[in-house]
Symmetry: C2
Subunit: 115 residues, 2 copies
Amino acid sequence: MKQKSGKSNLMPAEHIAVFGAPDEEKLFEMAELFKVFADSTRIRVLYAMFEQEMNVSQICEKVEMSISAVSHQLRLLKQSRLVKCRREGRKAYYMLADDHVKTIIGMAKEHIEED
Amino acid sequence: MKQKSGKSNLMPAEHIAVFGAPDEEKLFEMAELFKVFADSTRIRVLYAMFEQEMNVSQICEKVEMSISAVSHQLRLLKQSRLVKCRREGRKAYYMLADDHVKTIIGMAKEHIEED
DNA sequence: CAAATAGTTGAATAACTGTTCAAGTATTCA
DNA sequence: TGAATACTTGAACAGTTATTCAACTATTTG
């Protein structure tokens, strides 16, 4: 159950890596990305920004959560570089970082709507 | 902070729902789907089936996890209908349920490889 | 039938996550 | 400057999740 090295004896070596999984670090990053989307309130926070940038209070109203909870989630989203933030006076406007967010969410929506 | 009904006074009503978030249940299902992908060992288990169907022991070897741990994860993946299972004697062969799995994983991979 | 193989399952535990609460910073306004 | 607004942050708590362990079922082989 522990044999990291040593090639499989079932298949020629040149075939092994073709569809192989990415390395551990990449897998970890992929999982991290999915984790961000793995919470319905966080998806709602992202949806709040689909049309236009929003400040924290506006997001709070839209998703019906406390300022603190939203702020915590926004920090997470910012760390994952899924949203970016612009300051104007004492307000902080958040917006989607790129179209990837919409695409990924759209795919999940499609998937659950199918079959 | 609690005003579920009552239209926004910032925008004509017919624009409100266009990009609106799906209902709570759908959001929840979307989050559930992402949760399944939100674990690097589970992604590795899925990758193990990219080329061909595999029985549990083969998956264990490939991902270097205990039979029990893999079996638990496979149950989860089966419940989410991301994999399906075929029995042959005392062996249980698992395979990806459809191409959606590869597409979703591929998207995450692209995203983390960019920028 | 008994032993071995292949996998499943439930309970327990340890680690992680989301929300709240309380306290903090930063900016504007009077 | 003092009060109000708009957040941010850290700690704590409750709920969730992944792995392990032990016990179990099902199938095959001798």
